[in-house]
Symmetry: C2
Subunit: 351 residues, 2 copies
């Protein structure tokens, strides 16, 4: 049965709630109401113009209940994933109203004694989507998958790697191909209903987690596997997860997702890299294990006007010689058509 | 109080027990007996000529007890870190004899119901050294450390990165400098009595773990910090841990540890890399966050005779233009003297 989500995004919905936005835009479950005092009284599409949803925004869980939600989704992921203390009362109110709680936070809500007991009392449940299953060490079994595999990488966190992956899957389907989206983070898991938060896996096992996701996706015999990326290869905190996806998913090609306005990596003084360095770093690393080329650039031009966006797309094409586009602004079909022939299964390095 | 170790290394002591060898060679706790039916009846130095220890090797825990051990150390780490089933009876025998159990395995022995109950009954304890503490996300606080920091990297796992780190610390001390060894894996932790198994940390937090270790080491105001490396940058399973140490410990210089006989990475078909590619990959990655150069090559020539070892050392010098030596075979003083002036604290990249 499909869920009816109330999304909790206190104070962040309009500007910094990528989980909420992703579930509203791409989820198979419906979002019926958003909770954020900062935007209360508006509709979703008024607070976030690129979201095509008329769901109302209200100030708290009590007001949200009139829209008949069946689940409360924790719709933002603060740095480190901790639970802001002021959200506790709202979550308890939702549990008391028998809503399921779906959380992508690092802190396991289901392991919190107060939440656990409240859920037992109310007869509802808590789904911590970040909590990973046990996975084996990377084995190389992924090299035997015969489905061409595309991995998204980017110039920072939160630049749209998941969105581009989902849009490219839509384009593939419109072109008559079966594409399997591989979720590697909490929002992707909430959208697709399966997956592993690879950033939450013990470091030694992270490439094995990526491998197991691709093996699972290959079971349905799609024409193309599209792996959601995480972090950035020069991110001081999250690059190990990026590298785990690069080696573990064993892609045949990469699409580089870039916010061209990003000067430094979110929360750090580390500079964002130019196209040539980004492409070279990814390709040189993969060349040591299983070669894969960057075959296209997906720009996130959300913060630019039309002419500035076009100028950035032109610059990307000129500087890289690769197909480049903004798949949200202009649709994914052109970029998909331009890259698909360059995603061909090939073999790993071996002695 | 110092421990008296019985080291359990069933079937592996002579050829594949780097934890056991490291603790015997460098540990502050004494090893009084080794348990391995495959080498029983020999002394340690007879089974492993490069270890200067007369401790006896016996077939089982029952025989080991006569040497008065106070702790059983699990002295080998199979791939993935799981506990071989046949060791269970031996570990229970040690617990029943009131020995402390010190384990570097992935599986937490202290979480095993049978072991836990046995330890409670016997009034002894189980120390799972791999179990990491909670650590924060990488913050950049490590950039404010003023102590020059050296990180070991290598062309594979198990090539001697920890040994080289320990030998360089010894050389520094002989040269009148205070060097702090930073343990990042189970053997290093057992040797030094503190540290974090960075491979056991949740991937998102692995750079933060490395950062916290360097911050801790800096507290004692040493002249030099030497960080034990892990994995290899082109290792399909363990490279994310390597990268976490590179970004998280924010080194000022690297020493590259190479087994020149290694043609492919242990357990995988992935080719070992030549010097130029290894050096370039590490330096290009670090150049994006905080630049650091490879300042020396430490060769592991254990499997070569004297002339072949010398030839490999000469080749390393010729191909890289860097100081190169085998610090186990020829001592660490020359390599230390050749590199120390190139380990100077410097600033990260920033916008």
């Amino acid at each position: 049965m499909k869920r009816r989500y109330a999304i909790l995004a206190n104070g962040h919905f309009a500007d910094d709630a990528k989980t909420a936005h992703g579930v509203i835009a791409y989820g198979t479950d419906e979002t019926v109401v958003v909770i954020d005092p900062a935007s209360a009284g508006k509709r979703v599409r008024e607070a976030v113009p690129y979201l095509q949803s008329d769901a109302p925004i209200v100030a708290n869980v009590a007001q949200a209940l009139q829209y008949g939600p069946t689940a409360l989704l924790i719709g933002t992921a603060p740095i480190g994933g901790g639970l802001p203390a002021e959200w506790r009362a709202e979550i308890l109110a939702a549990i008391d109203a028998k809503l399921e709680v779906v959380s992508g936070l690092h802190d396991q809500l289901g392991a919190d004694r107060e939440f656990k007991l409240a859920a037992q009392r109310a007869g509802t449940k808590i789904w911590d989507v970040r909590e990973p299953p046990d996975v084996p060490i990377f084995s190389g079994a992924v090299y035997n998958v015969s489905v061409p595999t595309l991995l998204l990488v980017g110039n920072d966190c939160a630049v749209g790697k998941m969105t581009v992956a989902l849009e490219l899957c839509r384009a593939a389907q419109r072109a008559g191909k079966k594409a399997a989206f591989v979720p590697t983070g909490q929002t992707g898991i909430m959208i697709a209903g399966w997956g592993i938060s690879v950033d939450r896996v013990i470091a030694d096992f992270a490439p094995g987690a990526a491998e197991s996701l691709v093996l699972y996706a290959a079971n349905s015999q799609p024409d193309l596997i599209v792996v959601e990326g995480q972090g950035a290869i020069n991110h001081p905190a999250y690059a190990p997860v990026t590298l785990a996806l690069m080696y573990g998913s064993a892609p045949d090609a990469l699409v580089l997702v870039v916010d061209p306005t990003r000067e430094k990596l979110g929360g750090y003084a580390t500079p964002a890299l130019p196209y040539d360095k980004l492409i070279r770093l990814h390709e040189e690393l993969l060349a040591t294990v299983k070669p894969a080329r960057v075959v296209g650039i997906a720009l996130n031009t959300r913060y630019l006007d039309g002419p500035a966006a076009q100028a950035q797309i032109e610059r990307a094409r000129r500087e890289t010689g690769l197909p480049a586009d903004d798949v949200v602004r202009y649709g994914p079909d052109a970029l998909y058509a331009a890259i698909v022939s360059n995603v061909q299964r090939h073999a790993p390095c071996s002695v």
